[in-house]
């Protein structure tokens, strides 16, 4: 998985593409203009390294509508849940929970 991440990041170097993995779970963020080509390249590279991408279980989301979107993987509107690694990233309540937990940690440290 690491070799895949390195190759993909190299391919889109200096184009604001971030490739992150947690074991075999892969997350890529990219500017909308190149998002489709990043995804296509990522799937090619994954297959090259012997992985079998599961397109039905993969997904993409974006706050702004994508022009010329050809759905290789399902598109989830930002108004819907988008869970990755156990966290729903489209729910801003999570940010509030995170901030509250951080405050608790600071309070506990100060105490």
């Amino acid at each position: 998985m690491d070799a895949f991440c390195i190759d993909l990041a190299k391919e889109f170097h200096a184009q604001h593409v971030d490739v992150r993995a947690y074991m075999d779970d892969c997350t890529i963020t990219a500017p909308p203009a190149i998002a489709e080509s990043v995804l296509a390249k990522a799937l090619d590279l994954m297959r090259h390294y012997g992985f079998q991408p599961n397109l039905e279980k993969s997904a993409m989301t974006c706050k702004s509508p994508l022009s010329d979107h050809r759905p290789i993987v399902p598109f989830r509107p930002p108004t819907e849940e988008f869970v990755m690694l156990g966290v729903n990233i489209t729910d801003n309540r999570c940010v509030a929970i995170e901030a509250r937990e951080q405050l608790h940690r600071v309070d506990a440290g100060a105490g």
Binding site: M46, N54, C62, I89
Partner: protein
Amino acid sequence: MESSRPIAASPFTDEDVFNAVKRMSRQAATAIDPWTKDLLLSIISVDRDNASMLAGVLHRILTLHGPAEEEAGRPFSEAAMNIVRAGRLIGIPKGEHDIRPIVISCSLAKLLGTVVLNKCSSKCSAHQFALNTVRGHERIAHMARRELNNGKVVHRIDSRNAFNIAARAKIFNIVKRPGEKDPHLLQYFVTMYQPVSSLFVFGENGRTARVMANEGVRH
């Protein structure tokens, strides 16, 4: 798979064993044998020689297929090595109709893996958040949320049984790349994955089955 004979992994020290045992997680699943972090820690703490002895055993397991086997004396028998490579295959329910297969390994294989990773000169890149990153999964999610709010597209790519179907030949090609070649890691891969490994499934009424695995890796 081609031979890895031209490489040599340096011997392990008692310090290597201590560091690896300390890094083991108390929450980790118990190995196929009953050794745990606390048991190993007590046995090596009570007498430093035990750690040295364990370091020797681990190094002999590692170099079974390498040039150091003559120096290390008589290698372990194939039966002993089959025990080290053996694993217990368990199916954890995943959704309503699916299972997630996991393998519980031998404690010596797990400990050896940790010692090797500690000594290994090639480390995972900054792209991998599962190793050496505290709460790495949460970090990825928070970064993705921030980037989504900044107008980026977020892709989540799922792969089918990534560990269980990983092609060993492809992994071997990566492990032996000139820039990434580490004698310990290469030896570990060859020792653990060159031969077919036996995975045991325990069923109802004491029934057992053996699955021969020639692809896939453990995690």
